[in-house]
Subunit: 284 residues, 4 copies
């Protein structure tokens, strides 16, 4: 695995922009492993992602930021450069279903997901067994005893104390309060067990069963104040038929959930996702 810097740019589209950025990179001997561009013609917005071999560069991370800033300001960029050797800190929020949680943990354990997982938080205690095995501290925040407001305050404290970069709701069945949604904007990912916008809200598999659809799915999206309305990162579907019961749909849907969440989280961790209004650019 190469050490890389990832340069992510989001700015008004202008002639000469790519030339200037490319020249900057060439001036510092950047060996570019991946480069992706996208222009949103409707909004005149330009998006760019470069993955650069760290070894090739003649400047450090701090110097990169310092030297690139004037160019970024000139082109009114929203931008960041990240260092792949600095792993993001991910908190997993769980409830009683283990499939998404265990899948993320296993991909992390085997090195497929490059991140640290300093804590798992559950509104029920059941997931502690998996946390223990993977040697990740588990915090049971008891919503029943604490009440919803205090419970979320405690979660917020935990996320702060652990200096969490990304919060993943791995079938966490609680709705985040508005202030937490705002605080975690662009840094909290949910998996919804339907092919959104179909079957938003509760019991999507039962809704799908009742409607008689021929495909079920799952949607990985950023958490926003508007429940199930956040920017979609990834969706996955599976074919079903009349012979599938609601229970069969739950079983098949779990595979969709696992796949969509793992893909969404990996793309986020590799800085491949840029949020634009209520949509995403995903340089996968």
């Amino acid at each position: 695995m190469h050490q890389t810097f990832r340069l992510i740019i989001d700015c008004p589209d202008q002639v000469g922009l790519v030339a200037r950025v490319s020249q900057f990179l060439a001036d510092h001997d950047a060996s570019i492993l991946e480069a992706s561009h996208h222009t949103d013609v409707q909004t005149g917005r330009f998006f760019m992602r470069h993955e650069i071999s760290t070894d090739s560069l003649t400047l450090s991370y701090d110097r990169f930021i310092e030297e690139f800033t004037p160019l970024a300001n000139e082109f009114q960029m929203q931008w960041k450069v990240t260092d792949s050797s600095k792993r993001q800190r991910v908190a997993l929020l769980s409830s009683v279903e283990s499939h998404c949680l265990v899948d993320i943990l296993h991909r992390w354990h085997t090195g497929e997901l490059h991140c640290d997982i300093p804590c798992i938080i559950g509104n029920h205690p059941q997931m502690k067994q998996f946390a223990d095995w993977y040697k990740v501290p588990f915090h049971w925040v008891d919503f029943k005893t604490l009440g919803k407001e205090n419970a979320f305050k405690q979660i917020e404290v935990l996320l702060d104390e652990y200096a969490i970069d990304l919060t993943v709701l791995a079938r966490f069945m609680q709705i985040l309060p508005d202030n937490l949604c705002s605080k975690l904007a662009g840094r909290a990912i949910n998996i919804h067990h339907s092919f959104l916008p179909s079957f938003a809200g509760a019991k999507p598999y039962q809704q799908a069963y009742d409607r008689g659809v021929k495909l079920i799915g799952a949607t990985c999206h950023y958490v926003t104040r508007d429940l199930d309305e956040g920017p979609i990162i990834e969706q996955s579907v599976k074919r079903i038929s009349h012979s599938d019961t609601a229970a069969d749909m739950v079983r098949k849907g779990k595979d969709c959930e696992v796949n969509a969440l793992a893909t969404g989280v990996r793309n986020h961790l590799e800085d491949r996702v840029i949020i634009h209004h209520n949509k995403t650019v995903v340089f996968a």
Copy 2:
């Protein structure tokens, strides 16, 4: 292609039912090419489809009906037996988009779809060119001149005169009046250009573009009074990304429409679809 009788049964589930039906078939030497069963546990309803080699049977179509009727009555069946050598008469309703129309015509022309197509009806004249080539009479019903009510009366007259069994709305962009929906219940198939229930109503591709979904689709369903709410026969999806414009989504979506409609129509023509409340059993 074998000549077959297709026996379709929909009745309350009861012990002994399959034995009695199977015994009836055995008593008349039926060679069964396909047999499919389904029990809807929630409603206690049983569905069965047999495809029987005509040559093997020791009774004619009329005698089959006569002899099977007592058994059907005993078990309170809704049932039918159809003869594959008697082709259904299909009317295609069209507007200005040709992709679904031409696909259906070509599959019919090459013998993939076993039916007659005695007429094509358009609310615009553009599809006449394709109708002419396939030597199918084309009727332009001019909604602008006639007004919607009279136009649909004229369509109803045409469907009656041509003794149409199945009406296929091949991207016909007009909403059928309630009385026609009722009259054609279970005998009119529509293709909606979204993955229903997502993006019901107008401009589904624009809706999908605006929502930023990562998969688009199409839905083939029976026409009912509740627009876009009828029993779904088939759905098809295709992956898209941020780089797809609304125009790209239209282009990719057309392939979904073509596939879902062709599959839905074929399954209907082969008596593989049974409507149960607002859902379908599809013995594909």
Copy 3:
């Protein structure tokens, strides 16, 4: 979950067969939850699977066998009836890759796969950590020290001692000797990391990368003497592009492997798979 008997029949196609079997079931008050039929026209062979609610039946498992045997003999059936409450005993054979092993274990742990897993056998010790957590005895059979012949003898002893019904090669990278293939015929399932028959043999992902295919896949099949040639139960594919390295293909392929193996094993455990020559009938 219902307790069920599953009646699996494989015999020459004959008129009256279904009637007789159905009458037998009706005579004993069988409530049929699922019934599936298939006729292989080329070989004149008939396949049938019934899933029957145990509670509905007026005879025990042993009496069922006793009473059905004359009918089975009359129609020259290869047949079995299984009791869903009697779980199959599954051994997992592993090497150094954990993704398939952990996925099967997790589906078993959460009750999705109805079986017992009395042991895991590894030709390397690495998987012991997962076995320990799931509290399954782990046996390291050291191929280097023992030599291949003795190692497989030891595996055979273990399979016998644990009275194993189904052996699952969860990315076990050793080729079974002929005698063991014969002994386990129809009771050993392998996952091959390619879309067979493409890229049989070693390093399929590298082969796929070198050939420049646009989809990769995995194949779940029964083990036979002819390596990678056994009856296929399930296949799964995923789209790739020029930007995927051989390492990306390995990562994406793992998801195919996990899905194909889990589906294949579940279908086998639910007696949904019938081997016919070198192919399978899968009543999924």
Copy 4:
């Protein structure tokens, strides 16, 4: 539809390359609608495609070539710039199956495929009916009368006379002679009715049926001297089961063929495909 220039570059990877190309484009006010890059790390080869709004450019097509040439030479580029307003001339080679031919013709007729189709050539006369309707000259080259060698000479003459840019073998069941393969290298596209490299050669659906695979497919590839071994542009698959006969597989496979060929041809016509050794980079 924008008028665009498409700049396609294939050269050794070097620092500064993108900067120089981007600067060249910026110097001539290029508004870049799409930019795609790929580095093949194994071979150190770099691939780039730009789609540039013609209106934005301050130089003509001829001047573009003239001015870009020194830069191209400096970086040892294999390169081309194409003008989207200059349609490629496509010949369709047909036999007796119409599905691929009619699909391509319809997409061309409705403007989805931007090209001219000046002629259709058939080794059998059946496709003339479709050619006539679309008002495309049809040439029946009678292989039986002429013999294979003379027949192909006549085809070569036709391709020359019509100044064909791209030859599409739309289920043309004849193997091109080596000299024609060489002459048309990178300019002839075939659709093979299997998921290559599985089932290369004759009767792939029968091969697939005999092997008992659970997915069938089709492969769109460039024609080379090594039959069925050319660089793959696109592949498409569809799920099948034991209940599909070889005839069902043919029917389902046709949809794969149609989709893979249409996608492959469109990508080629939009200069999205670059051949690299025996593989393709597809900037789709």
